[in-house]
Each structure stands twice: as C-alpha cells, then as structure tokens.
Symmetry: C2
Subunit: 102 residues, 2 copies
C-alpha cells in the first residue's frame, strides 16, 4: 500500500535527495539518478541488492543498465506521485552505493 508524503516530509526528503544527486522531475513527479560503478559486476551487484528490497517493499524502480551505469527512476504509479516507498528506496540506493560504487 502506497503512503503519501506529507508536505513537510516531502520537502525535507526531496531537499536531502537532491543534495545527494537525485533530480526531481516535477511534471511526472519522479526522482532520477545515475549511479556509476567500476564495472558491470559492481553495477549488477548494486541492482541485485536493490531488487531484494524492491520485492520486500513491493515497490519497483524503473531502471536501465549499460555496462557500469545504472539509471534509476522512482515514482509511485497508483498515486501518480512520489511516496514514502520512493524515498526509502532512494535512501537505500545511496546507502549501498557508498559500499559498492567507485
């Protein structure tokens, strides 16, 4: 079940995420980021860790992988807006990127 972000929480979360390299598309209400790794192995390792959380949350990213790069788009289709799950996924990606990324 998708949970809306309250206005204050949204503002604060987005401020932090944008500081950390996420881009807000406020037409589609998506957040987007490109993660770059040493090689495909690290990029796919990152995707695998994210996939496990995505299954747990029942909330899945839209993402493209080309060799060492992963382009991620997050949004919540049933709300047509960003939700708490998008923020949770984004924070998790940033967190594990520190351990896997270059």
């Amino acid at each position: 079940m998708s949970v809306r972000l309250e206005a204050d929480e949204r503002d604060q979360s987005l401020r932090e995420l944008v500081e950390n390299g996420w881009t807000l598309n406020d037409v589609q209400d998506t957040i987007n980021k490109t993660f770059k790794f040493d090689d495909f192995n690290s990029a796919f390792g990152f995707m695998t860790r994210v996939a496990l959380l995505a299954e747990k949350l029942k909330h899945h990213p839209e993402w493209t992988n080309i060799y060492n790069k992963v382009d991620v788009k997050l949004t919540t289709h049933d709300l047509k807006a960003l939700s708490k799950s998008d923020v949770q996924m984004a924070l998790f990606m940033d967190h594990i990127y520190v351990t896997i990324g270059d």
Copy 2:
C-alpha cells in the same frame, strides 16, 4: 575479443532471431527484444541468469527493466556491429525465457 559474423552465418542467425521476436536495427546494427514475465521476481531472475553469462563472455547487454518487462539491446561496440557474442547472448535469453517467462 569480439568475433565478426561471416555473411552467411549472419544471415542465418538473424533470420532465426527475427523469427523468434528480435528486431534488427540496421542503422545502429543492434538487435532488440522485449521480454515479458509474470512479475518483477521472474524478470529479475531472468536478468540475473543473463548477467552471469554476460560476465563470462565479457559481453554485456543494454537493458531496461520496468516491473515485469525487460527491454534488451545487443550490439558489439568495438566492432560497431553485431558479433558472435550478440547471437550467443540472444539465443541464451530465448532459451531461458522458455523456462522463466509466462
């Protein structure tokens, strides 16, 4: 090391792949296919099996995953053309799709 496809081999391989749902983009010399699954779990399972072969062959797809769909593009950048590895990857994807896909 990328290995070029001889003309006859290329014609035959492409004929078979196109019959199996691959699209040839002859401007970029890529082959493309969308694989559709029951859910994200199956789609990412497919990607994981393909990733292991990609690492073994040192030949990686360009791919986008949105929930239960995986869009794949194959080409060989150092040849700027399709190679034996592209055909091998495409055949492997079609093979395992039979066991995972819907």
